[in-house]
Amino acid sequence: MSTHNVTPMPGAKAPAPMHLARNPGTALELDWLRDLRVNRSAVERRAATIPTRRTVKKEWQAAWLLKAITTIDLTTLAGDDTPAKVQRLCAKARQPVRPDVLAALGMADRPFHVGAVCVYHAMLETALRALEGSGILVAAVSAGFPAGLSPLKQRIAEVEESVAAGATEIDIVITRAHVLTGNWQALYDEVSAFREACGDAHLKSIIATGDLAILRNVAKASMVCMMAGSDFIKTSTGKEATNATLPVSLVMLRCIRDYLEATGHRVGFKAAGGISTAKAALNYLSLMKEELGTDWMQPALFRIGASSLLADVERQLEHHVTGAYSAYNRHPVA
């Protein structure tokens, strides 16, 4: 039995590359939006059966959980963040799993860390210094995060400043009003401007699904963000009432697939907010594998934005190694 991959991933033993060829974007193709159809009940039914049709056990579960860790954008986006808090987070990012557990899983000889650390601009410097030489990317949330309603000029400047400060990924928020009012040109122009401001940094566009009310809006916003050159599309800021869910993720993944078919460009997906259990992370990996294939289970094309997920995954990994259920205090906190 094999699964259908778009293209094979290169070199298995080497750590998966963190960045692939970028999405150059396209013109704003309004026809593509017009033809989008999303049936909520059908989406929900499919999403509901992802966890019931697929599961991984034993070694497979441990391996998938390890993979999930490598896709984490370990995140802190709180008003009370301080350099010390961010340093702690970065230390955890470098060594997300206890070395003895990693060794017992036969992974001791591999570089193993989370995908990226995600902070506000003010914490960039601290994070970059703490992660120097680790290969861990540093992402900054930007463009008036989380509401995105400051003046466009300032939002663009914010992106430029974060890039200048050394961020390799920029997580921007879109103006939800452009989606809710159907002003696709404005959305396209805005995201295109952010993309330009990013330079070599990768652009991750947060569409804030929880604010978009209906799934068709999610699909249209996803499409426009990809047309405007986003390298990733991302569900949520973590601040909306509803964050990442399997149904909205499914809708976004199908857009990524359609966009790939139409343009040949691969766009990544980041689920953010509310993914706090190992089981949930496995469900997302199944969803990625089912809808887009194994390439989209790698950090170059898939991220989970999370702060508390790691602790649960660590417990499950220790359980796999010892056979006994673990406890939070047995694993270093971030």
Partner: protein, 793 residues
């Protein structure tokens, strides 16, 4: 594989459910099961057993008792003995038992789940998430009907002892669909599980004992088709409920003809899955997965014919192929597979043979490039394109994971292709346009329509087919009627044998001086000469000649049916409009009441006084059905998903109605009026001995805005004409209220499995409203279509 290796490949691994508890259960029985009769486990009379095979491994699981005719007889005796007490227990008492059965299924859910999977080969995901939860739901729902049966179904009583024969594709679920409503209504049952899959029925019986069900209420007799034959042929069984192939259903229809047994059949299908160009195509692709790769496609209502709007056909096929690549086939007990094993080698061979035939006829065959397991009975998901309606694979039920796909141009084209089948079980319609969905759903000839969804089932919604997919519904209020009958039925007396008819004579031979009024046939709103060129004398009370009528033959029936078929506008007319026409008939009949009184009074067995009563009653009856025309509403069922499940009452279509000799006017009106009120087009055969009251109605119809073809009348030898109607494949139902032709009609109806309602040689009092009018008549001339409409933006 090591964790590090899997970290690189990110493959799925094995995720097997343990079978140890199911194995222990089998071992505790020495891997041999017995018959369950009167709450006792009995060895079969001749000591014969056969193997039940695990389709996932091809290895034997257990030895199953092969019941004999004597065992079936013992089971019927036990059921008969138990039935009065079970009925007398009352609805509330039965409700407690059904509730206990529901709880029992939930308490032992995992054992049922595993046992079903290893016995049938279906993925454990399905038994765990679909089959067994639906079983529990069915018992809960029917515990409710037991509680309510006396108040909700007044003037009804249980049918009695019910013989139930179920298929192997949903073994325990089909048991639940059969047993729960039967017990709720107060019947006792003799149930035969399918030969391939007896184990969960045996476990169910085991737990019936634990739950304290009285002896004889449920009896389980295992074995092959011979056991089914013994049940079908048993004299002391009152009703047969069968789910299975149309082929066997037809044999059962023929075998039970004239026996007086009630019959419900849930048969095969070749259900269309229609995708319009404005559908959510990714959603539709998942719908196809749930339609045809659910239970390996071994589903009577499987969406096996994909109809795609031409403009999106290529896109859809490409998406479908990509999706097929990611389906996983394998060990049914693996929790991460989509497709399990085919139930038996014989089914596998049938699938292979049909697919090969399809390819030989020019279909393009596509299967994923991955390999299926070497052991066990597996067949890969298969897509056949380049298929036309004329292809064998587009017409025959394959009952496997095989999808045929063909394009259509317009909604009308889609409907025509969808209905171009002898079956009529289910359909799926995919579009984001509610106008289109709700336009297409009523036009599809089938019992269930799923809009933007597929294969949704619930105990509260009736399930069952049109056409050769059978008749009767399972689930919901409509399903309860299948296990009840009006109390008056048991009290009906035998009809007098029909008087021998005078021989036909050349037309006009008996004319008697005055202006001749010999009525012709009434076809398409016009009078037409009988094809035979003969007339029949109609004699009065003292043998005097009252007049003549045309001697109809099969060609007159052909013409009448053709006219009825074309009069579709009547079925599409608004209920208000139909009511107006029927009121108008009543008005005109009343205006000419004296003529009809005089006519009736000269007929044998009718006095002047009774003639007047009969005319008045006929006018009243017309009023009754004019009243009902816009009040026999459908329902919205409370099914547990976010949707509206609309149960629509639809006319059967073209009905043949053979009227009784007694009450020649009132009998005719009592049968034709409800059929018309519900939107059927009718070919009526009046009493052969007293046809003139009916033929006098021609002028009433002509002056009452009755559209031509909605009612047609052919006079002549009732039984001979009944046979032509019963055999006619364009006729959807036959009501037979003659004295002695019931068996013939039921038998002849099996050609297209049309619905029948026959007198069984019993006479009704057409003046007694309890037995001569009301909802029973409306139920018998309608069929219920359940349309599932999920919503949510």
């Amino acid at each position: 594989m090591t964790v590090a290796e899997i970290f690189d490949t990110l493959d799925y691994g094995p995720a097997p459910e343990a079978a140890n508890v199911a194995d222990a259960w089998l071992e505790a029985r020495d891997r041999q099961t017995q018959l369950f009769i009167g709450n006792e486990w009995r060895a079969p009379a001749d000591g014969a057993y056969f193997d039940s095979i695990n389709p996932g491994t091809g290895k034997p699981l257990a030895r199953i008792a092969q019941a004999t005719a004597a065992d079936v007889d013992a089971a019927v005796v036990a059921a008969r003995a138990a039935q009065p007490g079970w009925a007398k227990l009352g609805g509330a008492g039965r409700a407690r038992h059904l509730y206990a059965l529901a709880r029992m299924v939930q308490k032992h859910a995992r054992l049922f789940v595993v046992l079903e999977s290893i016995d049938n080969g279906k993925p454990i995901r399905e038994t765990r998430d679909i089959d067994i939860p639906l079983v529990a739901r069915h018992f809960y729902h029917h515990a409710g009907w037991a509680q309510l049966v006396e108040t909700e179904f007044t003037d009804h009583e249980p049918v009695g002892v019910v013989g139930q024969i179920i298929p192997w594709n949903f073994p325990l679920l089909m048991l639940a669909w059969k047993v729960a409503p039967a017990l709720a209504a107060g019947n006792t049952v003799v149930l035969k599980p399918a030969e391939f899959t007896s184990l969960t029925a045996v476990l169910f019986a085991d737990l019936c004992l634990d739950a304290g069900l009285p002896p004889g209420v449920v009896n389980i007799v295992t074995g092959d088709g011979r056991v089914g034959e013994a049940i079908v042929g048993h004299d002391d069984i009152d009703k047969i409920a069968f789910t299975g192939s149309t082929e066997v259903g037809r044999l059962i229809r023929e075998a039970t003809a004239g026996s007086g047994k009630e019959l419900t059949l849930e048969l095969g299908g070749k259900s269309p899955f229609i995708v319009f160009d404005d559908a959510d195509l990714d959603g539709a692709v998942e719908g196809v997965v749930d339609a045809i790769w659910f239970n390996q496609g071994q589903v009577c209502c499987a969406g096996s014919r994909l109809l795609m709007q031409e403009s999106i056909a290529d896109t859809l096929v490409a998406k479908l192929k990509a999706r097929m690549q990611t389906l996983r086939i394998g060990d049914p007990l693996d929790k991460a597979i989509d497709i399990g094993a085919i139930v038996a080698p014989v089914q596998l061979e049938k699938i292979e043979q049909l697919v090969n035939q399809g390819a030989a006829e020019g279909a393009s065959l596509w299967q994923p490039d991955w390999a299926k397991p070497a052991e066990g009975f597996f067949y890969p998901p298969t897509l056949l394109t380049n298929v036309g309606p004329a292809s064998t694979v587009a017409q025959e039920e394959i009952f496997g994971p095989v999808l045929t796909a063909m394009p259509f141009r317009t909604p009308g084209d889609a409907i025509a292709l969808a209905n171009n089948t002898r079956y009529g079980l289910a359909a799926s319609v995919w579009t984001e346009n509610i106008n289109l969905a709700l336009d297409v759903a009523p036009a599809l000839k089938c019992g269930v329509v799923w809009v933007n969804s597929t294969n949704m089932f619930d105990a509260a919604a009736g399930f069952g087919g049109y056409r050769e997919s059978g008749f009767g519904r399972e689930g919901g209020r409509e399903g309860m009627y299948a296990y009840l009958r009006p109390r008056y039925h048991a009290k009906l007396e035998a009809a007098e044998p029909a008087a021998p008819l005078p021989a036909p004579v050349p037309a006009g031979a008996a004319s008697s001086g005055g202006i001749d009024r010999t009525p012709k046939m009434y076809i398409g709103g016009k009078q037409a000469r009988p094809d035979s060129g003969y007339s029949r004398p109609v004699l009065g009370a003292n043998g005097e000649l009252l007049g003549e009528v045309g001697d109809g033959n099969r060609k007159d029936i052909r013409e009448a049916v053709e006219a009825a078929r074309k009069a579709e506008a009547w079925s599409k007319a608004t209920a208000h409009n139909r009511a107006q026409v029927i009121y108008y008939i009543a008005e005109n009949l009343d205006a000419r009441g004296h003529e009809f009184r005089d006519r009736l009074a000269r007929m044998p067995g009718v006095s002047k006084r009774t003639a007047g009563r009969e005319v008045d009653a006929a006018v009243q009856r017309l009023f009754t059905y004019a009243a009902w025309a816009d009040k026999y509403d459908g329902r919205v069922h409370a099914t547990p998903v976010r949707n509206v499940t609309v149960a629509m009452n639809e006319p059967l279509g073209v009905m043949g109605v053979i009227c009784p000799d007694e009450a020649p006017l009132l009998g005719f009106v009592s049968l034709v009026a409800p059929a018309l009120a519900m939107g059927n087009r009718v070919v009526a055969v009046p009493s052969a001995t007293n046809p003139l009251a009916a033929t006098d109605l021609y002028q009433v119809f002509d002056t009452s805005d009755v559209p031509g073809g909605s009612v047609n009348i052919v006079t002549g030898d009732g039984d001979a004409l009944a046979k032509v109607l019963a055999e006619h494949n364009e006729v959807d139902a036959v009501w037979y209220f003659g004295a002695s032709g019931s068996a013939m009609v039921e038998k002849a109806s099996s050609g297209n499995m049309k619905q029948t309602w026959v007198s069984d040689g019993r006479r009704r009092d057409w003046h007694d409203r309890l037995q001569a009018e009301g909802e029973e008549y409306l139920r018998k001339c309608t069929q219920i279509k359940n349309i599932w409409v999920p919503y949510g933006e």
